[in-house]
Every structure is written in structure tokens, then in C-alpha cells.
């Protein structure tokens, strides 16, 4: 569990915080709330790590674990250098929010103070109870479920071979595993990342990989609560309960799957589509492209649906044709760099994705 905590804090918190400072730096027009950016950034650490690993295994295969670890650390070190001035901005912002909340609480009358305490207590109790059950029980259950195992097996192959090539060589000659999926290997690469880190401690676990489903489900819940709480805190509470009591969503909290992972990026891409059309600021366009790319990198559904983002941006953005074309093209380039590249490789040199289905014709 200590190693898991280390992997979790490093990848999901520290890497994400570094990314967040960079986004604050890019927000030159000061349009976006820093806390809102932080919430979205919490999902960026893992996916950016898997993207880096993807390019490394694609262009620099068959190197040592240390090589990949150092390379990724170097990239984050460089990013933290770029965003170095904004760590304090982010921390000050968080501190100011906490102080502001305290001040607001003190200014309330007794009735509203009790109401706030009760409201916060309900949230904390539910979250604490969930985390207790999750960490002590759910996370300890073995990895199970067709998709989680399939992506996990691919992740193990990437780790063994240190190459993306075996995504397209099926069956895998060493074990005979036969995995035909249309998705980019983003989710699998997070297990590869875990195993790379494990290798320095001579352990072989998959706890971090198993935790991703619940982590991203909680982030989705957080995003929903954030937007609803802008209207009313009780609306936010109701929204959270309604979301949790949809069985399909509840499942993502307790099973090991990539659904919450892929949905998170898609939902955030829609938020930045709205921002890009409305505000037309650089960061909104950048994050629309980035999150759309990551949605594609996570799953084929994302790869298909983000094309509508480009279409919507082109149609609904104000401006002349040249401006529309330039901005939409920039977003498309970001989407490709963020993960759609994998499908291009797959279409021309791999299984043919959903277009040609070259390898699936035998049994499908």
C-alpha cells in the first residue's frame, strides 16, 4: 500500500499539479478559475504520463526501465520549471478560498452555521465511508472483468517488450494472448507505468491500475458537483446522489474498468468546447484540443465523438472563414498529438481500426 500511495501521489497529484501550474501560466487572459483548472488537471497527470510512455515506446523501444522513468521525470521537471512561478499562485488561491470559506462561515447566523456543518458532515461522512471500504476491501480484490484484464494483459506485454509494436502483433508469440481491440493503448500503458515503477522495488502489483476507475469516477462526480454548486449546494448534493444511484455509474466506482477514464476526458472536452466558442481564449482552444485528444487516446468512442467537437467549433465559433479554419485546424493538430495519432497508425499500418477491420475479419 505504501508503494501504491507513492505511485498515486506522484502520478495523480504531483504530475497533475505540475500540469495545472502550466495551464495557469497559459491562462494569460485570467479567464478560468484556478480551482476549476486544478480539478480538471487532476485527471491530466496519468493520461499525460501514458501519452509520454506511448511516444517513448513507439520511437525509442526496447530500453531499460530506468530510461523510461528518467525520461518521464525529466519531462515533468521541465514542465515544473516552466510553471515554477505559478505553484505559489495556485497555493495562495487554495489558501484564500479556505480563508474565504472560514470568513463566510463566521458571518453566518447560528441556523446557517448548523446547516453548513450538517451539509459538510454528510459529504465528508459519505466520502470517508466510501474511501474506507474502497481502500480496505474493493481495492484489495483481484483485477477482474473482461476489459480490465484485456487492457491489463496488453499493459503487461508493453512492459515485457518495451514496445508498442505488440499492440499490432497478435497473437503475442510469448504467451499466445490474442487481444483485438480498437482502442488506443492509453489505459494499458498506465499498468505499464506502474510496473516500471514497481521494478525498482522488485514487486509486481496492479493496485494503482485498479484504482483508476474509482479515481476518475470521483473526478467526474467532482466536476458535476462543481457546476451544480455554482447554482445551489443542495442541487449539487442531489446531483451527486442522482449520479451515484444510476447503477451504471455506481459500477465504475467499484469495478475496475476504463469507462470513467474515457468519459472524464470527453466531458471536459465539451466544457472547453463551450469555453472556446464563448470566450475564444487561447487556453480554451488548447484544452479543447488536448482533452479531445486524450478522450480519443482513451477509447474509440472518444476518437469518434471528438470529431463532432471540431465540427461544432467550426460551425458555432464567431469569426471569418480564415479564423475558423485556423482555429479548428489547430485543435485538430492538438487532437492528433494528444492521441488520435494512434488511430492513424492503426488505419494505415495496423488493424485498420473500425474502418478496415483487417484482423477482425476472421472471427467477427
Amino acid at each position: 500500500m505504501i508503494l501504491f500511495a507513492l505511485q498515486f501521489i506522484l502520478t495523480n497529484i504531483i504530475f497533475s499539479a505540475i500540469t495545472c501550474t502550466l495551464l495557469i501560466r497559459l491562462d494569460k487572459e485570467r479567464i478560468h478559475s484556478h480551482l476549476e483548472l486544478l480539478l480538471y488537471s487532476l485527471g491530466l497527470g496519468p493520461v499525460l504520463t501514458s501519452l509520454l510512455l506511448y511516444y517513448l515506446l513507439l520511437f525509442f523501444p526496447h530500453h531499460s526501465n530506468l530510461f523510461y522513468l528518467l525520461f518521464i521525470f525529466s519531462v515533468y521537471l521541465f514542465l515544473s520549471f516552466l510553471g515554477r512561478k505559478y505553484f505559489s499562485v495556485l497555493l495562495n488561491d487554495i489558501t484564500r478560498k479556505i480563508k474565504g470559506a472560514k470568513k463566510t462561515f463566521k458571518s453566518l447566523n447560528t441556523y446557517h452555521q448548523i446547516e453548513s456543518i450538517l451539509f459538510t458532515s454528510v459529504l465528508i461522512i459519505f466520502l470517508a465511508l466510501f474511501l474506507f471500504l474502497y481502500l480496505t476491501n474493493t481495492l484489495q480484490t483481484p483485477l477482474d472483468g473482461t476489459d480490465a484484464l484485456r487492457y491489463g494483459t496488453l499493459g503487461k506485454i508493453f512492459f515485457e517488450e518495451k514496445s508498442i509494436e505488440f499492440r499490432w502483433i497478435q497473437p503475442y508469440p510469448e504467451t499466445g494472448s490474442y487481444i483485438l481491440v480498437n482502442q488506443a493503448p492509453s489505459f494499458s500503458l498506465l499498468l505499464t507505468w506502474e510496473k516500471i515503477m514497481d521494478s525498482f522495488f522488485t514487486v509486481d502489483k496492479d493496485i494503482y491500475y485498479k484504482s483508476l476507475s474509482a479515481y476518475y469516477a470521483l473526478l467526474i462526480l467532482g466536476v458535476s458537483v462543481l457546476w451544480l454548486s455554482k447554482k445551489s449546494k443542495y442541487l449539487a448534493l442531489l446531483g451527486a446522489f442522482a449520479l451515484l444511484f444510476g447503477f451504471a455509474f455506481f459500477q465504475t466506482l467499484i469495478t475496475q474498468h476504463l469507462d470513467s477514464y474515457r468519459i472524464f476526458f470527453l466531458v471536459i472536452s465539451w466544457i472547453f468546447l463551450a469555453y472556446a466558442v464563448e470566450k475564444k481564449d487561447f487556453l480554451s482552444f488548447f484544452l479543447l484540443g488536448t482533452f479531445s485528444g486524450f478522450a480519443a487516446f482513451a477509447h474509440t468512442i472518444g476518437a469518434v465523438l471528438v470529431t463532432f467537437n471540431c465540427l461544432a467549433l467550426f460551425i458555432f465559433m464567431k469569426g471569418n472563414l480564415k479564423d475558423k479554419l485556423t482555429k479548428t485546424t489547430s485543435v485538430i493538430i492538438l487532437i492528433i498529438a494528444g492521441g488520435w495519432l494512434h488511430y492513424i497508425l492503426d488505419i494505415f499500418w495496423g488493424f485498420g481500426w473500425i474502418i478496415f477491420k483487417r484482423a477482425i475479419t476472421y472471427w467477427g
Binding site: P142, A248, W270, L311
Partner: protein
């Protein structure tokens, strides 16, 4: 109509998976369209993407809840945000009333479908019921085999083998199996499996489906030893290195020999359905259960009579009288079954805690020997042998014949059994 709505509009109407508030998106969308002139461009852009996404997912994967789940968090949040626009100018009491009604609707929906949550909660949260097949995976990893070529034919879509085992497998969808499929006879296919594909073990999920399942069943039943069976779903077979003496196997229809087995070995009483003390239209002796059971003297496999069952959703049951003696022990049940209804009938052994099932009858109108292996749970409350169990299909005139039901201690293969008796007779 119901399935069409679920197929294309599951996001709004599948209350079990997506709660009972998402249907509100439909009237709210009408409200959105009615107020389109007041809408900002970003709202229209998001609505445009949402509609295209909904249509794409509905057409391509509307039947699959996981696909529709893609839109669920966004839809629900949008419903609350749009709904708030409608009530934000109303009185505080009205707002509380609307939120309370929505809250109650959420709660009652949960209450109505709470059984859907229960198995997941027990398996994944309180970890009450460990359904994970630790035992069989440990067993597979512990197999020591001198030949590095030894492969497992993996007939399970669950993906456990490749993630957890350190052995080499050949997947049921692997194109290399085409040579196995091309063979005209079972014997030739088995030969290819053993000598060309170097398959030594078959890992089979009880619910495995493939067009070549019947051939696989024949191989498993006649040419393999069951070496491990997980209590829920996976069985591991080892292909025999040498074929049994074919002369002995041909004798498997020898009625006298089989009748001897019933008398000497079977733990089931009246398994050949010869005794009908209460008459030909009541249950045979020692058997109970629901369904229209009659004595049959034409379609018979063993002895003079078999049991003919007409109807739907029934069981023909016998309880093992001294089940306490078999706790933690392995037992095997065989029964000959004949029907022309595909995939409806099978055997089940149930001990009050867990169940094991045989394959289902192919429905090809011939006698097929079904087999189920079971390890009796140490906490077993009883051992109930359903020598025939039928799925509910809604057809009350389906007919099945069952005969020669055997229950034996240990894991058995019918050829082992016949060989044993052949040796004893000599």
C-alpha cells in the same frame, strides 16, 4: 416496442442503469428548442455535439449500457442545470419541493432496483462472496510440464488466463485454430489439437459459446480428464496422451454394463427411472420437483423406462440423503438427455451456497450425455441434484427425455467409468 425504445433511447428510459431522472432530458430539450433564440452559441454548440453523440452511440452501441454510460454524467448534470433555469425565479419553498421530489424519485428508483446492486456490493465492497477463481489459476501456474510447447486451449472470454498465468495458451479466436476447424472428424481434429497445435490442456468456461462447441464438448467428454473445476465457472481438462481402447468405448451402450454401474456405484436412487410406484403419471420414485413428468417406454437409453418431461421452467430433483458425508468432496453427475429444443436443458448440482452446471443439450434430437462436476461446499446445507433443469422459454409444449442419471464420488469421465467396469468384469 419496449426493446426498440431501450435500444435507441436507453439513456432516457433504462431506469435500472441510468436512474429515473434522465427522461427529463426530453421535455427539457423541447424547452431548449423552444427558447433557441435566447440561447448562446456555446449552448447550441454543446447541444449539437450532444445530439450527434447520442445518435452515433444509439445507432452503433445503443444496446450496450456501457456505451450509453458515456453520455450519462453529462446528461444528468445538464438536466439539473437546465431545470434550475426553470425554477430559479420561483419561491424558495417551490425549489425545495422540486428538489425533494427529485430526491424521492432517486431513492425509490434505487429501492426498486436494489437487487441489481446487491451482488456487486457483496463481491466488490464488503467482499462477502469471493467469486474469483484463485484456486484454478494457482493450480494452472503450479503445473510442471517438461515440454515448453505444452499449450492451453483457452475457451473463455474472461481473459484471466493470460493476465494471471505463466503458461502459454492458444485463444479460442486465434486464427491458428483454423486448421482444427477444417478437420472433418472429431478424431482428426483431436489429432491436430494434440500434435500440430501442441495443446495439452483445455480451459473451458461453462458458458463458452462458439460454433464449434459441439466438437469441443465431444473431445472434452471422451478424450480428456477433468483435472480441476472451479466452483463457479472454469474447468480444466487434460487431453489424454493415449486413446482408450476403442473396443471398450464401443461398449458404452451396453445396457447390462451400465445397469451394473447404477446398482453398484451411483449415489442417486432410481437413476435409470425404472421404478414408478405412484404410477406412470407421477414423479418417479425418489424424485421430486415441478413439471409434468411421465413414464416413457419408447425413447429409452438405459433399462426399460425413461422419464419424459413436458413443459417449461421445471426441475427434476433428487436430494442426496447423506450429503454430510460428501462435504468438501468432489462429485460427478451424468445423465442421458434427448430433446430437439436447443440450449434449454442441462444438469445442475446445488448445495445451498453454490452451483455447478453441465453444458446445455444441443437440441439435435439425439441422446447426449451431459456431465457436471461439483465440489460440495463445507458449509453446504444440502446437495440437490437437478438431473434435468430447463430454462424458461415460454413454450409449454417442449419435450425432453432423461435417462441413466448417475451420481458418483470423485471427478469422473464416462470412459474412465466404463474402463473401470470393463477391467472389473475381466
Amino acid at each position: 416496442m419496449g426493446s426498440w425504445l431501450e435500444r435507441y433511447l436507453g439513456l432516457f428510459l433504462n431506469f435500472e442503469y441510468f436512474g429515473n431522472l434522465t427522461w427529463l432530458a426530453i421535455p427539457l430539450f423541447v424547452y431548449f428548442v423552444a427558447t433557441i433564440k435566447k440561447r448562446k452559441r456555446w449552448e447550441m454548440a454543446v447541444a449539437f455535439v450532444f445530439i450527434l453523440s447520442l445518435v452515433s452511440l444509439g445507432i452503433k452501441g445503443g444496446w450496450w449500457n456501457r456505451y450509453i454510460l458515456t453520455l450519462y454524467p453529462f446528461t444528468l448534470t445538464a438536466i439539473f442545470l437546465l431545470g434550475w433555469q426553470l425554477i430559479k425565479k420561483r419561491s424558495h419553498g417551490f425549489q425545495i419541493g422540486v428538489l425533494a421530489i427529485c430526491g424521492m424519485a432517486v431513492f425509490f428508483n434505487y429501492d426498486h432496483f436494489k437487487d441489481t446492486y446487491k451482488p456487486f456490493w457483496e463481491y466488490k465492497v464488503i467482499v462477502k462472496d469471493d467469486r474469483f477463481p484463485h484456486g484454478i489459476l494457482k493450480f494452472i501456474n503450479s503445473i510442471e510440464d517438461s515440454s515448453s510447447e505444452s499449450q492451453f486451449l483457452v475457451c473463455s472470454t474472461r481473459g484471466l488466463f493470460y493476465y494471471y498465468s505463466n503458461k502459454k495458451g492458444i485463444d479460442s479466436r486465434d486464427p491458428r485454430l483454423q486448421i482444427f476447424h477444417r478437420q472433418k472428424s472429431k478424431e482428426a481434429a483431436l489429432d491436430v489439437l494434440k500434435n500440430q497445435l501442441k495443446v495439452k490442456y483445455i480451459l473451458l468456461h461453462w458458458n463458452f459459446k462458439a460454433w464449434w462447441i459441439q466438437r469441443l464438448k465431444n473431445i472434452v467428454t471422451n478424450d480428456c480428464d477433468l483435472i480441476y473445476q472451479d466452483k463457479y465457472e472454469l474447468s480444466l481438462y487434460r487431453i489424454r496422451e493415449k486413446d482408450l481402447d476403442r473396443k471398450d468405448i464401443k461398449k458404452d451402450l451396453d445396457k447390462e454394463r451400465l445397469e451394473n454401474i447404477f446398482v453398484n456405484d451411483s449415489l442417486l436412487r432410481n437413476g435409470s427411472f425404472e421404478n414408478w410406484t405412484n404410477g406412470p403419471f407421477k414423479n418417479p420414485d425418489f424424485f421430486g420437483g415441478a413439471g409434468y413428468v411421465t413414464q416413457e417406454d419408447k425413447e429409452v437409453k438405459i433399462g426399460k423406462y425413461s422419464a419424459k418431461i413436458t413443459g417449461d421452467d421445471f426441475n427434476l430433483i433428487q436430494y442426496l440423503s447423506n450429503f454430510e458425508d460428501y462435504k468438501e468432496k468432489k462429485i460427478t453427475c451424468f445423465a442421458w438427455v434427448k430433446t430437439d429444443v436447443p440450449n434449454k436443458y442441462r444438469i445442475q448440482i446445488y448445495n445451498g451456497i453454490d452451483s455447478s452446471f453441465s453444458f446445455r443439450h444441443s437440441g439435435k434430437g439425439r441422446w447426449e450425455l451431459l456431465q457436471v462436476n461439483h465440489t460440495v461446499n463445507p458449509q453446504a446445507k444440502f446437495v440437490k441434484v437437478r438431473v434435468i433443469q430447463a430454462a424458461k422459454t415460454g413454450k409449454a409444449d417442449d419435450v425432453v427425455y432423461v435417462d441413466g442419471a448417475l451420481l458418483l464420488e470423485g471427478y469422473w469421465n464416462i470412459n474412465d467409468l466404463l474402463s473401470k467396469h470393463a477391467i472389473e468384469e475381466k
